[in-house]
């Protein structure tokens, strides 16, 4: 489109550029996001401000429209891909500048389940919200989850299942965590198309998250609560 070419990111003011980056995340424009991140850094923004004000805020809009049935998986995947491009630039800078960490999550789809679309979305949105995410991929046995938890000491364990044939396996994992005395240390979030809140409660998860946007909000509030408990 003709007017698309009319926008020159480097000529925008900071405020306009940030709004434009929200739009470009919405449209999944990776090159433009990378350019925007570089411009803000050059203008002296801290990596943390670029992350939160440009990228996370933009992904929050995407997440809200995904939650409200306005955007769907293809659009969110494109947005997340654009976000990833920006994150690739920011990650080393965030580490260098000692930016605050939101928390760490280990996430994976349970044994027998190949469907990882939802899980990937959650992982990307969590990264988008500033969490460190270790993705175990699909088809995870209880042993694989435990191994990762012991090695990584995450704040959150995320499990996903898309099939009614695989969702009960989440309970196997949670029960094993209980047996090993590890359940109290970790926040367990579950998600997937056939699940619901009642199911999440019944198997002993901390929460069921309806979609990736809800997962981020839930993770934030649980981590905040956990930190409050520790300092109390």
């Amino acid at each position: 489109m003709a007017d698309e070419d009319d926008i020159i990111l480097s000529e925008l003011s900071d405020d306009e550029l940030v709004l434009q980056m929200h739009d470009d995340l919405y449209d999944g424009l990776k090159d433009e996001i990378e350019e925007g991140v570089n411009i803000l850094i050059e203008r002296g923004w801290t990596p943390y401000d670029v992350l939160t004000k440009a990228l996370v805020a933009g992904m929050t809009i995407v997440g809200a429209d995904f939650r409200d049935g306005i955007l769907f998986v293809p659009e969110v995947l494109l947005a997340a891909n654009a976000m990833k491009g920006g994150m690739f630039i920011l990650k080393p800078l965030l580490v260098e500048t000692g930016a605050p960490r939101m928390g760490k999550m280990v996430i994976g789809t349970v044994k027998g389940d190949i469907h990882d679309i939802g899980k990937n979305l959650v992982g990307m949105m969590m990264e988008g919200a500033g969490f460190e995410v270790l993705d175990l991929g699909i088809n995870n046995s209880v042993e694989k989850y435990l191994e990762a938890i012991e090695a990584e000491q995450p704040d959150i364990l995320g499990m996903s299942a898309l099939l009614t044939t695989t969702m009960p396996y989440m309970k196997v994992v949670i029960d094993t965590l209980k047996e090993k005395g590890m359940r109290e240390e970790i926040i367990v979030l579950v998600g997937g198309a056939p699940l619901n809140e009642e199911f999440g409660k019944a198997i002993g998860a901390d929460a069921y998250c309806r979609d990736a946007a809800v997962a981020v909000e839930t993770a934030k509030s649980f981590v905040a609560r956990k930190h409050n408990q520790l300092s109390a």
């Binding site: 709004l19 769907f72 469907h115 044939t165 019944a202």
Partner: protein, 335 residues
Amino acid sequence: MTDALSTLLATRDWLMADGATGTNLFNMGLSSGEPPELWNVDQPDNIRALYRGAVESGSDIFLTNTFGGNASRLKLHGAQGRVHELNRIGAALGREIADAAGRTVVVAGSVGPTGEIMAPMGTLTHALAVEMFHEQAEGLKAGGADVLWVETISAPEEYRAAAEAAALAGMPWCGTMSFDTAGRTMMGATSADLAALVEKLPNPPIAFGANCGVGSSDLLRTVLGFFAQGTERPVIAKGNAGIPKYKDGAIHYDGTPELMADYAVLARDSGARIIGGCCGTMPVHLKAMREALETRPKGPRPSLDEISAKLGAFSSASDGTGDEGPARRERRRGR
């Protein structure tokens, strides 16, 4: 048109399909995370019992235990080399039960999604998807399936790939999508999108429709959405028996046989010609559905209000068709 399904459709107003596969197999001891398709070889009597349960409950069509029988899914269990075998045997067991039924029963070779995201968003190319579906289709054909039954698809691209595979295998086919996200599929396809898509295919399906999703109200809204596009092709309604609940270490669906009977009648009155259940639908539900379909007179096409009054509320205000749905935000680039 010599295939068994077309013949049945030509002689009957409605046909009843089957119910759940996974839910039934769990009740027979399948453990969570294990691939049901292996039972075609390891526990054939359980698979026979599954099929027989549908036939004895009055199903005119039942789906084979091959939903996850593509190379991409079986690879999880190191069984990607057994695609042909597991599908062939799954269909052959079905043939055996159908032929012993004493009436025409259609063996529908179930073909579920690959579970992968198609290019350009994901890594699965069209050619590779066609190849995987074709491999599965050949196994189902060799085992004696009457039709291919592509189900629970969310991406239009994957639906197209499965259609092409059916053509390569020289098989008649049916294809349903799962509309589980605010009335759309996970990939955003609406009922109107699917109705338009099937007519554009070089080898359109005998019947198309919706399966699984969330609850029977939503499923019927989708069915009405197909007819709003003026489709004249037979429509399939295969909804879940309510919503999954976790009780005593197992999944139970909260839809009662009475509810599923109401759903079946409303599906028929909505215009669906092939009516069945999906997750949670057990023989007891199917019996109630069959009885209701046979005994309750056909009524006028129900309104959305009548559907929600009888079956429960819709999961979202809009199903993405028409202009009533929420709009995307305005962006500066004017896209």
